[in-house]
Structure formats: C-alpha cells, structure tokens
C-alpha cells in the first residue's frame, strides 16, 4: 500500500509538467492548429524561470516572465500559421530547434545551479487525517493545485459554455464558425497564445518543482511525449490528467526499479516512456481502426475565407 502511494505521489510530481503541456496542446489543437513546438517552448519556459528566479529570487517575477516569453512564442506561431498560413508542422519543428538552441545559449551561465524550494507548498494539516488522499494532497505545491484548477476550468470551458462550443466549431469546421459570426482569426490567435503560455508553464514547473536546476535539454523529449498524449487523451482535459499521470508513473517506475537495485542497466529503464509512447499509439491505432480518433476535423488545415470548399 505504501509503495503504491509512493508511486502515485511520484507520478503526480513528474506528471504535472506534462499535464500543463498537454492542456495547452489541447486548447491549441481544439482551435484547429497543430503545435509541435512544445519541446522548444518548455525549454524556453524552463530557462526563463531559472534565469529570473536566480537573479531576483522571487517567484512573482519568474512566473509572469515565463508567461510573457511563451506568449511571444505563441504569437510567432500564430502569426506564421494563421496569418501567413505556412506549414504548421514545419513551423513547430522550427520552434523546437530554435527553442532548444536559444535556451542552451541563454542558460549556459547558470547550468547546474540548484534552486530548491522555489515554489511554496500549500500545507493543509486538516487533510493529514484523511486516509489515502490526505497523504497525497496535504502538502502539494501551488503549481500542482493550479494544474488541477486548469483541468476543471478547461473541461467546463470546452464542454459547458457557449464559447467552448464556438471553439469546437472552429476546430471542426472553420467555414461554419465564420458563418456563425465567430472571428476565426482572432479566436485562433487567442487559443494559440493561451495554449503556448500553458506549455511554457509546464517547462517552468519542470524546472522549479520537479528537477530544480537548469540543464541543457532538460526536457528530454517530454514536449514530444505531451504531443503524443494529446492523441492519447482524445483532446479531453479530464483524460489528459490520467494520461499525464500514467506517463509520470512510468518515469517514476524506472527510477524505483533502479533504487531497488535490479541488474537491468539504467539506460534501458530510461527507454520505457519513449517505447511505451509508441506502443500506446499503436494500440490506439489498432483499436480505433476505421473509427474517428476524436481529433478536430480541420486540424492542420489553414482557413482561407476566399477559397472554394
């Protein structure tokens, strides 16, 4: 029992950065735009948080800066894909390459400097008495609580408000949304920028909470795993929570097995999340063959009002 609780706790802490990135990705893809730059955006978010936190020592300066930097990256992606209508896949690739290069460049002076305890924990002694759940949530940090709130907020937004209905219309059929009077371009800009801010926040969470020291390429493919998790979660925020924690658990599991002292070399244990990502996608493809995947129908197709359908 204790072991299971430990694994769940570890899954939550390594799954939260993924959760932020998946939620951001869901918001962007629901509006019909593909965002493959998550890896570069998370790195930029992480390095911004590290630089600001080390120089000012305050979270109140670091988090807004992270949001501003990722909003700028989101604006760039939106301008390229919505206004200039470039290939969304290539724009995302460029963002990944640029983000990992720029973050390594900016972070060279602070590499490896530890910054523990950056994010305050919300201690709730009342919950300590509650069995099972109490142990898990009584001493969580602020960002994890924020991620819970975001899951609920996004779920309510997408499925329970008229704006959410507009968002889904936008992703499935932009001409229909346009006819309904929804401002397609402005709406897409908003979604891409807001979603990119969430992805950047995921990078900041990875740095400030999960492994508090900047290392070049510290995301190690988490941005790409987040892109895969969007498909896994079928563009649904509640499923995103489960999927992110599942992958967090895989991450934690490899580490646990190492601690027990098994004879499997650690390199193979570190491969688990990557291999499972491919296997899970294969399973989904096999199970959903001939059925809709739940993806927005106009995902990746630029909208040109003057074009014939």
């Amino acid at each position: 029992m204790d072991l299971i609780l430990q694994i769940v706790a570890a899954a939550m802490s390594s799954g939260t950065p993924l959760l932020f990135a998946v939620l951001g990705g869901i918001l962007i893809e629901r509006s019909g735009i593909i965002q493959l730059g998550a890896e570069g955006i998370m790195l930029m978010g992480a390095v911004t948080a590290a630089l600001l936190y080390l120089h000012t020592g305050s979270l109140a300066a670091a988090l807004p800066a992270v949001l501003a930097v990722s909003a700028a990256l989101g604006l760039l992606h939106a301008f390229l894909t919505v206004t200039l209508r470039v290939n969304q896949i290539v724009s995302g690739l460029a963002m990944t390459l640029f983000g990992s290069g720029l973050s390594a460049f900016l972070g060279r002076a602070i590499a490896g400097q530890p910054m523990p305890g950056a994010v305050p924990k919300l201690d709730m002694p009342v919950l300590d008495g509650v069995p099972v759940i109490g142990v898990l949530v009584a001493h969580l940090d602020v960002l994890t609580w924020l991620s819970f709130a975001l899951v609920i907020a996004l779920h309510l937004y997408i499925y329970r408000t008229s704006w959410g209905l507009h968002l889904r219309a936008l992703g499935d059929s932009p001409p229909t949304a346009d006819v309904m009077g929804i401002p397609v371009t402005a709406f897409r800009y908003g979604c891409v920028i807001a979603g990119t801010m969430l992805i950047g926040l995921g990078g900041a969470d990875l740095l400030l909470v999960f492994s508090p020291a900047w290392i070049e390429d510290m995301t190690a493919g988490r941005g790409w795993i987040a892109v895969a998790l969007i498909i896994f979660a079928r563009w649904n925020p509640l499923r995103a929570l489960l999927c992110a924690y599942f992958f967090g658990a895989l991450d934690a599991l490899g580490f646990r097995i190492q601690l027990i002292g098994s004879s499997i070399p650690s390199y193979f244990l570190k491969m688990i999340p990557y291999a499972v990502t491919i296997l899970v996608l294969m399973y989904l493809g096999w199970r959903n063959r001939g059925k809709p995947s739940g993806s927005p129908e106009s995902l990746g197709v630029p909208y040109i009002r003057e074009q014939r359908l």
């Binding site: 570069g40 896949i89 640029f98 900016l106 491919i278």
Partner: protein, 372 residues
C-alpha cells in the same frame, strides 16, 4: 465586392474623389496558387536569422560582428577549416538526402538522428565481434551493416504508420531518444575500450576498419558516398519509374491510390532508403572521422539535416550547397567557443533560419494590391 470593401473599413461612397484617402491603401491578399518564391529568398532568410541572433548575442555581452567573423574564418578561412567543413558536410548531405526522400511523399521523418546512430553502432559491432577481418571484407561489411541498421531503424517508424496510423513525427523522435540511450549503454558498458582510461568510447578502429582519407587531410572516402547518393537521388526522381510514382504520391496521394499504386509499400521502401542513407552517414562518421564509437558521436546531424533539406527545397544541387553551408555553421559554432560562447549558438541560428525560410516562402504567396 462592395461588401468586402466596406468590411475592410473603406468609405461606402468610394466613387467620390473628394473622400478618397490621400495615401493609397494597400490590401494583402493570399494567393494559394502562387507557390514559387524568388531564388534569393533562402539567402534573405539566412541574413535575417543572423540579424535576429545578433540581438541575442549582443544581449549576452558579446560583439555579434566579432562572433560572425570568427565563425566565417573558422569555417571557410583556413585550409583546415575548409576540409573540416567538408567533413561535417558529408553526414549532413547523406542525412539530408535521406529526409528529402521521405519529405517528397510528405512523410515527416525527423528520426535521421536515431537512424544515424543505429548505423554507427552496427558498423562498430562489426569491428567488435569480427576484429581481424582484412580491409576488403571489413569495410564492405561495415557499410552494409550501417545501411541495414539505419534502414531497419527507419522501418520502425514506417511500420507503425502504415499499419497502425501512428503519427510518424512522434514515433521517429521517440526512436531518436531510444537510439541515444542505446549508444550511451554500449559506450559506457559492454563496448568500452578496456585500455581507454574510462573514456566512454569503443576501442580505436584498425587501419583496415577505417575509410581511406584523401592525402594527409581528415577528409575521407565518405565524400564519394555522399556525392554518389546525391547523383542517385537526382537520377531516381527524374528518370525512373519508382521516382515517378513517388512524385505522384507526393503531389496527390488519393490520385496515386486510384492509379493502383500501393501507398504502404512505397512508404516502407522510402523509409528503408531514408534510414539507410542516414545509417550510411553514421558508418562513415565512425569509420572515417572518429575511428571509434564514442559518447556524443553526433552533434545533432539528424536535426540539422531537416533544415538542410528544407533550405534546399529537396533539390539535389541545393542539398549539396546547403549541406556545405551548414557544415560550415557547425564548424563555426565550434570556433566561437574560444570567445566563451556555447556551440548551441549555431543551433540557435539554425532554428532562426528555418523560421525565416518558411515565413519568406509564405510571403511569396501574398499579393499586394492597391485598393481604390
């Protein structure tokens, strides 16, 4: 038309000269039919990227002009720099042709890095497990092993896509990380040179296991591989039936399917070729340059190759030119380390170039009209 003019914020009564604005208003229209962009667009993209990165370099407290001058002289200014640039251009050209074949049919293979490492490891496996072969046997066997391993690593991306609709971007990238961990395992573990003072690398190759070099330079026989691959690539797409079918798939997959072309079969063949070329690059790198398998054998050749392919617009001659330029960028990136900058400087430049390149191509499709 009137409705549109009104929507664009024009005066309703456009006919009266009195109310016409003094400055002619311009309107930007998107023309999806026009796909070409002028030949100088890639050059403009490179210069714009240099300008943007100059801002970041200056913000870091270094003089950007000094950095660029150092990069230029480091890569092209000396005899050593020039041969070193050519040495780096070999894997870039091979991987660049590899990904170009895949991009021709809109298959987004970003796994050249992993395929490169698979080829490098397979070639090294030959030297580890069959150490005493003569050069006539060792080199062909290593080449074959490298191509086969790269091709199989490519198939690991193509098979899930063909039969399980798995997004190839994600699977090929995941396989890059797996290949990298596998490399770390063999160089830190079973293949580590026992006499290497804990250096994470395999034992040095013998002369029989090394590709011949040109004269006393570090430039090796891999250059012939790369140029032959470029020729073969150009010939295949222009003059063979297979090339024609691939062009058809790239232009319109639905029409190709209706014409009786098996998309899955071509997908597997393309990835076999694409991965095989990257694997060959890996073999040439361990056998021609490093003469051993070691930790960090690739400074991201597979990722740079994506930009090389894109900047060349998948054209064979363009690929040769851009592989040479980006080889220079990698060498220049090393040479600025003496100024206290990380070699990631060149990585940052590469990403910026790609941004401006796609933006420039899109600007080519925008028509500017005067609105009256």
């Amino acid at each position: 038309m009137n409705g549109k003019a009104a929507a664009a914020g024009m005066d309703g009564d456009a006919g009266s000269a009195r109310r016409r604005p003094a400055v002619p208003r311009l309107r930007f229209e998107f023309d999806p039919v026009r796909t070409g962009s002028p030949w100088w667009m890639p050059l403009a993209a490179v210069f714009a990227a240099l300008a943007v990165c100059a801002v970041f370099i200056a913000a870091g407290g270094t003089d950007p002009l000094a950095v660029y001058k150092k990069m230029l002289t480091g890569a092209f200014g000396t005899r050593f720099g020039l041969t070193e640039t050519l040495v780096k251009a070999i894997p870039l050209l091979l991987c660049g042709i590899g990904v170009s074949i895949a991009y021709r049919i809109s298959f987004w293979n970003i796994g050249a890095e992993g395929q490169f490492l698979a080829g490098a490891m397979a070639a090294t496996a030959v030297t580890i497990y069959m150490p005493d072969l003569p050069a006539v046997l060792a080199l062909p066997l290593m080449t074959a092993a490298g191509i086969a391993a790269g091709g199989l690593w490519g198939l690991l991306t193509a098979l899930p896509r063909a039969y399980f609709q798995v997004n190839e971007l994600i699977s090929s990238l995941m396989l890059n990380y797996i290949a990298l961990l596998l490399l770390d395992y063999v160089v830190f573990g079973p293949w580590r040179d026992p006499g290497g003072l804990n250096f994470p690398g395999s034992p040095m190759f013998t002369a029989d296991q090394s590709l011949p070099a040109f004269g006393s330079t570090r430039l090796h026989f891999g250059l012939v591989f790369a140029l032959a691959a470029a020729l073969l690539y150009a010939f295949t797409f222009r003059h063979t039936r297979w090339g024609y079918e691939l062009r058809l798939i790239g232009a319109n997959p639905e029409a190709a399917r209706n014409a009786g072309i098996s998309l899955n079969k071509h997908l597997l063949l393309v990835m076999l070729a694409s991965g095989g070329l990257a694997g060959l690059a890996g073999m040439a790198e361990v056998s021609g340059v490093a003469h051993r398998l070691m930790y960090g054998i690739s400074p991201g050749y597979g990722y740079t190759a994506i930009i090389v392919a894109w900047i060349a617009r998948l054209h064979p001659v363009g690929l040769i030119v851009s592989a040479f330029l980006f080889g220079g960028l990698i060498v220049g990136g090393y040479s600025v380390q003496t100024l206290g900058l990380p070699s990631a400087t060149s990585e940052m430049l590469q990403g910026a170039v790609l941004f401006f390149l796609i933006a420039g191509a899109a600007f080519g499709m925008i028509r500017i009209r005067r609105v009256r």
